[in-house]
Symmetry: C2
Subunit: 408 residues, 2 copies
């Protein structure tokens, strides 16, 4: 989920653990193995986490290759310690396929300073269970699994109500607060709740899209946007997550799907994915065009899949009375909410950090080929071509890249 | 729904007809009897209507007394033409009881320049049907009725889906685009859908609260805020509409109801109406207090019943993960939406112009004394004491006024 805001509309990664108490110390006190170094309060950091854990290694000298972050602007594909079980609820998974997300680019750029030097990046992938802790009962060595970008303990108040994103001990931590999936092996906490079984014979490449972008586009965009049959919907941003919203919105048979971006290649792809109308907002007035398309009424649902003020405010301008603005984008700055016109429009605005509660349901739609997320994969590399893959993904517009797959 | 923002938190009236097409001319063209004089586009007017109709009189010289607006700063209780039927769907109603709303004060102040000199104000009241058009079948002469602040044709796309507020021929027009209820008689368009029958023996004074403030507090605040048993909710603004939200929120048995205002008298009243905690935000830090009360988690629902940026942003600051901000306030200016923190909080923000779809349901709760909206009435006048009543309502804090009742 590239992060190029401005020229191209591309979703910025949106998994993140937040400080439920609004008080880093309170949260940290509840959470064992947290260093206080990077703890900051909500107000100090733009939508990023405030805790960090210490990783253990076997001490036996077992090593593996991984993409390691070494502070702003520095990453390397290097030999590092192979992860080991730390808790009875852990599993260690051998990575089969992984991918790169726009958030990884943000971390490398230094936008998320709470990420420590030495952190292995990545929060998406499929793999084979290598080892399980004594409390893990859903999985055993040799099982093929989807790794969810969101870690869920399954026991806290938020997990019990299906808000795994706000899990008191999990949420987005992979490749952020703990080591991630751009490696030969990864440790997955709360494996029973954070992994999903893959039946033999599945197309595992397609299933990498279930780690994050499909549930993100679906839960934050389509479900929150309350897409219904016959609706006219707009998707602002045709990056991977916008495309995931485009694919999954069609479960609900909207009449018209208008996709807005500033990259003609992505718009062309969106058309082949089911967009009924495409608008290059760099070349034409998107508001006027959409108002023209909707007889002046505006759209029923506007899905924001970019994460900048201009695109959110575009959603405000095109939303029809009774409509729903579903925000997917990660925002680093406030936006202007035009309540002076919207107060009377009977609209909803929703935000959401993906909960991945729909992963099992989305899995069925992929297996039954109701959607084909494999279409989002534009480039393939071997795992040890990680740096080359990053280079391609960093130049997504030039390379016409959506998702890149790295295979072990 | 007083409009004093700043010192006291008091809801500004929030019924309003909007330009569905975002284009006054388009709308006007659909709407017979509209003068184009005051037509302006959404962007030019802060949440107010853009059409105006010409009223007819019998020509027989029948007159009545009414509160007439004569341009900014000028109103009078004067002799004027008695309304007559203009369409087969009209009824003429003799007013028994009416009231004054904060929006009426706004109109008189000149804040709604589209209101024409000569307009009779008022959009709330109960009365007796005096005469019905040939197409009216639900009511007959002599029936006692509640007059809804929102006029609904019952036939357009919005009415068919229960969004009467956006009725293509109605919405809020009473005392705004057509003559209103602060008079001895009023013409009610689409009477079958815009009036509600009152059974004999009802307490009609209490039922005046069903014209507007009860459905407004309930629909825009409680329903949109998804109040549930056990929830902790905050109501920001203890004016009449905030109080209506306070009363009706208790249908759903929240565990805690925190009411925030800057008027100690209103807070004291809120306590007697069911608030479990009251906060004077002029005297203490409301955010800190609420975070303390909720263990740092924030509230499940925050109901904004004021209509200024500071109170909306207070709601943003106190909303818990997974919570709902339900806006009731009429906003004249944009607000800052802190998406840099809220994007990941799984929240909803809703806006709504009251649809009055819950009027029949609320009627049952009043009749069965599940709520007693009569408690909102602080002052009573005879209809011809209209100017005195306005004077009291204009000085609501000093007079300790919530709703004033005028009786014919």
């Amino acid at each position: 989920m590239g992060s190029r805001t401005g020229v191209n509309y591309t979703i910025i990664r949106r998994v993140c653990i937040i400080d439920l108490a609004g008080n880093g110390r309170t949260f940290a006190a509840k959470y064992k193995k947290i260093t206080m170094t990077n703890l900051v309060l909500d107000k100090e950091l733009p939508a990023v986490s405030k805790l960090s854990t210490v990783e253990k290694s076997s001490g036996k000298g077992d090593t593996m290759k991984a993409l390691v972050y070494h502070g702003a602007g520095r990453k390397s594909w290097e030999q590092t310690a192979k992860p080991v079980l730390q808790e009875p609820t852990d599993a260690v998974v051998r990575i089969l396929k992984t991918t790169i997300c726009g958030t990884d680019l943000h971390i490398i750029k230094g936008d998320l300073p709470e990420v420590k030097d030495g952190r292995i990046l990545g929060h998406e992938g499929v793999g084979i269970v290598e080892e399980t802790g004594s409390a893990v009962s859903n999985f055993k060595k040799g099982d093929h699994v989807i790794i969810s970008c969101v870690t869920s303990c399954g026991k806290c108040e938020f997990c019990k109500k299906g808000m795994y994103s706000h899990c008191e001990k999990g949420g987005w931590i992979l490749g952020y607060m703990i080591n991630g999936t751009q490696a030969e092996y990864v440790r997955i906490p709360y494996a029973d709740n954070s992994l999903y079984a893959i039946p033999a014979g599945s197309d595992e490449e397609a299933l990498v899209m279930l780690s994050d972008i499909l549930p993100t586009g679906f839960e934050c965009g389509v479900l929150n946007g309350q897409v219904k049959p016959g609706d006219t919907i707009a998707i602002v941003g045709a990056g991977p997550v916008g495309m995931a919203a485009l694919l999954t919105s069609q479960f609900y048979t909207p009449a018209e799907i208008i996709v807005i971006d500033q990259d003609n290649n992505r718009l062309k792809v969106a058309k082949t994915f089911g967009a009924t109308h495409i608008i290059n907002s760099a070349e034409e007035n998107a508001v006027e065009k959409i108002m023209g398309l909707t007889g002046g009424r505006g759209v029923d649902t506007a899905i924001e899949a970019v994460g900048v003020a201009a695109t959110f405010e575009l959603c405000e301008a095109i939303i029809g009375a009774g409509g729903h603005i579903a925000n997917i984008g990660v925002h680093g700055k406030p936006v202007t909410l035009h309540l002076e016109t919207l107060w009377s429009r009977n609209i909803s605005i929703t935000t959401r950090l993906v909960d991945t509660v729909t992963t099992p349901m989305l899995f069925k739609t992929v297996q039954s080929k109701k959607i084909e997320p494999k279409k989002l994969i534009t480039h393939r590399f071997k795992l040890d071509q990680m740096i080359e893959a990053y280079d391609t993904f960093e130049h997504a517009a030039k390379e016409k890249a959506l998702k890149v797959i790295l295979e072990n």
